[in-house]
C-alpha cells in the first residue's frame, strides 16, 4: 500500500514537473511559430507596404484604432487583404492562423465570409467584403520583446499582444451579420456556439438562479465596446459561487468560445486564470428566454469576473436582432497585455 502511494506520489510529481516545464516551452514554440510567420509575411511586402504595416510598439493611437464598424466608416491602420497579391494575402492569413487555434481561425474566417455574403446581398456594396480586413503590427515580431499583432475589419478586431511565451487576446471584438448564412450548401453561424452554450446554461439554472441571472431591463448595445478601455463596471446577475459544478463547467465552456480563439498554450494559461477567479464570476442575461431552433438568441448576456468581461449583444438595427450580433472580450486588468508590460 505504502509502495503504491509512493509510486502514485512520484507519478503525480513527475506529471506536475512535466506540465510545469512543458507549458512555457510549448508557449515559446507557439511564439516562435508566430514570429516566423510574421517575418515571412513581412518579407513578401515591398518597403512601402512594410512601412504601412509596421507601427512602433508605443503607438497608442493605432493600438486603439479598432471598431465594429465597416472600414469605410472607421478606417483601420495597416494594410488590407485587398491591397495584397495572392502570395501576400496567403502569408498574411498564415500569420493570423499561427496566432489562433484552429477553431479560432475558422470563426474569424466565418465572420469574414459573412461580410462577403452582405456584399453580394447588397448588390456588391463596396462597404462590405472579405478583402476589407487589415493587418498591422506594433513593434517588430520578436520571441523576446513585446509586440502586437492586429487583424480586423467590419465586426472583427483581434488585438494580440505577444510578450515572450505569453499571448494576450484582449480586447477582442467579434460580430456577425448575417449571423446565419449558407455557404457551399452548409449552414454557417460564426457565433453559433456563443449563442447555444449560453442558452443551454440559462436553461440549466433553476428558477431562483434564473431570477438572479435575468436582468429586468433592456440592453441596447455593448456597455464596454470600442473606446471603453480600462473600465470595470459593477457586476450583476448570478454569481458562479451560487452555481453547481455542472453549471460552472457550462459557464467555463461559454467563456472558452472567446478565450479559445487564441492558440492553445495561450488559451490554456488564460483559462487557468479565468478558472482561478470563477467563484467571483457573474452571469447576467437580458431579453428573450426562448430561441427558434437552429437560430441565435436575441438576448444580451454578460459574463464578468475579476479578470474577464464577455458581452454578447444582438443589434436591433432594422431587422431580426438574432441575425446581427456584436460581442466583446476583455480583461480589464490586462487589455493590450498592459499587466505584462508593467512587470
Amino acid at each position: 500500500m505504502r509502495l503504491v502511494s509512493m509510486r502514485a506520489a512520484s507519478a503525480i510529481c513527475a506529471l506536475a514537473f512535466t506540465c510545469l516545464s512543458l507549458t512555457p516551452a510549448t508557449a515559446q514554440i507557439a511564439t516562435g511559430r508566430i514570429v516566423s510567420a510574421a517575418n515571412a509575411f513581412l518579407s513578401t511586402l515591398d518597403n512601402k507596404q512594410r512601412q504601412t504595416v509596421l507601427f512602433t510598439f508605443d503607438d497608442e493611437k493605432q493600438r486603439q484604432r479598432w471598431s465594429n464598424f465597416p472600414t469605410g466608416f472607421v478606417p483601420r491602420g495597416g494594410i488590407s487583404l485587398k491591397e495584397m497579391n495572392a502570395t501576400q494575402r496567403a502569408a498574411a492569413l498564415a500569420v493570423v492562423s499561427s496566432a489562433l487555434s484552429p477553431r479560432g481561425f475558422e470563426k474569424i474566417q466565418q465572420i469574414m465570409e459573412g461580410d462577403e455574403v452582405s456584399r453580394i446581398k447588397e448588390g456588391n456594396n463596396p462597404m462590405f467584403g472579405k478583402d476589407l480586413y487589415y493587418i498591422s503590427m506594433l513593434g517588430k515580431p520578436s520571441e523576446k520583446d513585446p509586440w502586437m499583432l492586429q487583424f480586423g475589419g467590419h465586426h472583427l478586431a483581434l488585438n494580440i499582444t505577444i510578450a515572450g511565451e505569453r499571448g494576450v487576446l484582449t480586447p477582442t471584438l467579434t460580430g456577425a451579420q448575417p449571423a446565419l448564412y449558407t455557404l457551399n450548401g452548409k449552414t454557417v453561424r460564426p457565433l453559433g456556439q456563443e449563442s447555444d452554450k449560453a442558452f443551454a446554461l440559462l436553461n440549466a439554472l433553476d428558477e431562483a438562479q434564473r431570477k438572479q441571472a435575468i436582468l429586468s431591463y433592456r440592453l441596447a448595445d455593448l456597455v464596454l465596446g470600442p473606446g471603453q478601455d480600462g473600465k470595470t463596471i459593477q457586476p450583476e446577475g448570478l454569481k458562479a459561487s451560487a452555481m453547481n459544478e455542472r453549471q460552472r463547467a457550462m459557464l467555463v465552456d461559454v467563456i472558452a468560445e472567446w478565450a479559445g480563439i487564441i492558440h492553445e498554450s495561450a488559451a490554456a494559461a488564460r483559462m487557468a486564470e479565468i478558472k482561478a477567479g470563477l467563484e467571483d464570476t457573474w452571469f447576467a442575461w437580458s431579453g428573450p428566454i426562448t430561441v427558434t431552433p437552429g437560430n441565435n438568441i436575441a438576448a444580451y448576456y454578460r459574463i464578468q469576473g475579476p479578470k474577464l468581461v464577455v458581452e454578447y449583444a444582438p443589434q436591433r438595427l432594422g431587422g431580426d436582432p438574432a441575425m446581427h450580433v456584436h460581442t466583446m472580450y476583455r480583461d480589464p486588468t490586462n487589455d493590450y497585455g498592459r499587466r505584462l508590460m508593467a512587470k
Binding site: L219, V223, K231, G318
Partner: protein
Amino acid sequence: MTKTLATAAATLLSLVAPASAHRLDEYLQATIISVEKNRVQAFTRLAPGVAVSSLVIANIDTNGDGIISDTEQQAYAERVLRDLSFSVDEHRLKPRLVSVAFPMTAEMKEGLGEIQIEFTADLPGAGGSRELIFENHHQSRIAAYLVNCLVPRDKNIQITAQNRNENQSFYRLTYVQAVGRPDPSSLGLWPGVRASLGTVVLLLFAGLTLIWRQRAKHGMPA
C-alpha cells in the same frame, strides 16, 4: 410630435437601406457613473443612429447654418444636463459640466459620431447607507439608454444594489460608505502627510548631525 418623428425616421430609413451595419433609428445614450467620497462623476456618450441623426443635429445646430459652433455645443450639453436628474439621499444634486466633445457633423449625419459629455456633482458628506438616483429624459422618444456604475476605487465605498426601469431611464444605486478610515486612493491626504513626516525626519537628522559635530569639535563622546 411622436408621429412626426416616426414618419421622419421611417423616411430616412428608406433612404439609407445599405447602412445595415450600424445603429439606425435610436439615439444611444450610455452613461457610466463613478461614485467617490465627496462627489459623483458621470460620462455620457450620445450616439444618434443614421435615421435620427438629422433630427438630433437640428436640435444642436439651432441657427441652422450647418456648422455646430462651440456655443451650440455648450448649449446642447447644458440642455442634456437639464434633462438629467441626479439626487442622493433625496437631495437633488446640481451637476456641472466638466468636458464636452463633439464629432464632425458629417460623421454624425452618417450615424457614426459620438457626443461625449462629462459632468460632476458634489455629494453632501455622510456615511452609512446611501442612495443615488439618476434619471435620463433626454430625447426619450428615440432614446436607447444605458447606465452603469464603475466599481469604486475607494475601498470604503461598497455598491450594494443597482435597480433600473425597463428602458434604463431610471437608475437607483445603493451603496455603503464607511466613515473614519481614510482611503489612500481617493484622497490627496497621504502624500501631504508623508511629505510632512519626511520634513520632520530630515530636520531631526540635521539637528542631531549638528549636535554630534559640536560634540566632536569639543572632544565629547558621541
